[in-house]
Symmetry: C2
Subunit: 213 residues, 2 copies
C-alpha cells in the first residue's frame, strides 16, 4: 500500500478530503527522504580510495540509514492504518452506560496504538540526525549539501511527528503514560534543535553560501 504505488497517488490522497494519509504519515515519508539522502552520501563515500580510512564507519552509517528508511516507509503506511481504528472506536454506540464504557475504553486503546506510529517516526528521525553528524567530516565532501538537506528534513519530520504524538496525548487519560512519553521526547527535541543549527551552519560554510551561513 502506497510504497509500490505511484508517487502521485500518495500525494493526491494526502491532498484530498480523505482523512488519510495525513500529517503523521507525511512526516514519516519526509523522514524517509532524509534517510535516503543519508544513504546517498554514504554510497558516494564507500568504495572510494580517498575515503578508505573511514570506509568501515561510513558503511555502518549506510546500513543504519537503510534500516531507518525501510522503517519510516512502513510507518508512513502504518500511520494511515492506526488512524482508522481511532475513527472506528469513536463510531461505537453510546446509548447505554455499558456501551459508553466500552466505547471509551476502545477509544483509549486506539489512541495509545495510534500514538505509536508518530512516536516511532520521531525516534527514527532523531537517529537520522545523529548519523548525519559524523558524515559532515567523513562523508564525500562533494555531497555535503545533501547532509544539510537530510538534517533539515529529519528535523522538521521529527517535530511534525511530535505534534502528532501530542494530539493523541491530549485525549489520552493515562497521565503516567503521557508524562513518560513526553520525558522520552524532550531530550530528543533539545538535541535536534542543536544539531540542526550546528550542521546547517557548517554545511553553508563549507559550500561558501552567503545565504544561510
Amino acid at each position: 500500500m502506497y510504497i509500490d504505488e505511484p508517487l502521485k497517488k500518495y500525494l493526491d490522497e494526502a491532498a484530498s478530503g480523505a482523512s488519510t494519509p495525513g500529517g503523521g504519515s507525511v512526516a514519516a515519508l519526509a523522514g524517509a527522504l532524509g534517510a535516503a539522502l543519508t544513504s546517498m552520501v554514504c554510497n558516494f563515500t564507500v568504495g572510494k580510495k580517498k575515503y578508505k580510512d573511514v570506509e568501515a564507519e561510513v558503511s555502518q552509517i549506510l546500513s543504519e540509514a537503510e534500516e531507518l528508511r525501510a522503517k519510516l516507509l512502513d510507518l508512513m503506511v502504518a500511520d494511515t492504518q492506526v488512524y482508522g481504528k481511532v475513527s472506528t472506536a469513536y463510531g461505537m454506540p453510546k446509548d447505554t452506560a455499558e456501551e459508553k464504557e466500552a466505547r471509551s475504553a476502545a477509544i483509549q486503546d486506539a489512541l495509545k496504538a495510534a500514538m505509536g506510529a508518530p512516536l516511532e517516526t520521531a525516534i527514527c528521525c532523531h537517529k537520522i540526525m545523529k548519523i548525519n553528524e559524523p558524515l559532515l567530516e567523513k562523508g564525500n565532501t562533494n555531497l555535503i549539501s545533501d547532509v544539510g538537506v537530510a538534517i533539515l528534513l529529519a528535523e522538521s519530520a521529527m517535530r511534525s511527528a511530535i505534534m502528532n504524538v501530542e494530539i493523541n496525548l491530549s485525549f489520552i487519560k493515562d497521565e503516567a503514560l503521557c508524562s513518560e512519553t513526553r520525558d522520552k521526547l524532550r531530550p530528543l527535541m533539545a538535541e535536534a534543535t542543536e544539531l540542526r543549527s550546528k550542521i546547517y551552519k557548517k554545511v553553508n560554510e563549507a559550500i561558501g553560501a552567503e545565504l544561510g551561513a
Copy 2:
C-alpha cells in the same frame, strides 16, 4: 518520470550511488508534500457549514496550493534533468584553447540553467508558507497540526533548495547574476524564519502541546 512510478523507486534511486535524484529534487518533493497537506486542510474546510464565511478565501488558497503542488512535482523531475546537462558540459574535450573556451561557456550555461530548478523550488516553498498563515485562523481547526507540518516541511524544503542554488552560484562567474539571485532570496529567507517560528508556536498552543510550544 518518477511522478507516475512507484514511490519506492524514487526513494531507492535517491538513496543509491547514482547522482540523481539528489538534494534539489528531494527538496522539491518535500515542498510538494507541504503543498498537499495545505490542500487537505482546505478540502476539510471548503463546503462545511461552519466555515461558510471563509469559503471563498479558502477556495482560493486551495487552488494556489494545488498549482504549487503540480509545479513542485515538475521541479522534482526537472532538477534531475538539468543536473545531467552540467555533467555533460564538464565532460566536453579541453585539449585546445578553442575547446577549453567552448567547454567553459557550456559549463556556465548549464550551471545557470541548473540553478533555475532549486530557485523556483525555493520561491514555491516560500509561497506555501505564505498561504498557510491565513489557514491558522480560517482552516478547519481539527486539522491545525497539518498546517504545522506543512509549514515545517515548506521551510526546510526552501532552505534545502537555497543550499542547492548557492552551490551553483559558487561556480557561476557572472557576478551580477549572483548578487541579483541572492538579493531575490534574502527577504524570502528572513520571512520564512519568522513564519516558521510564529506558526509552529501557534499550532502547538492550539493543540495544547507541552513539547514544542
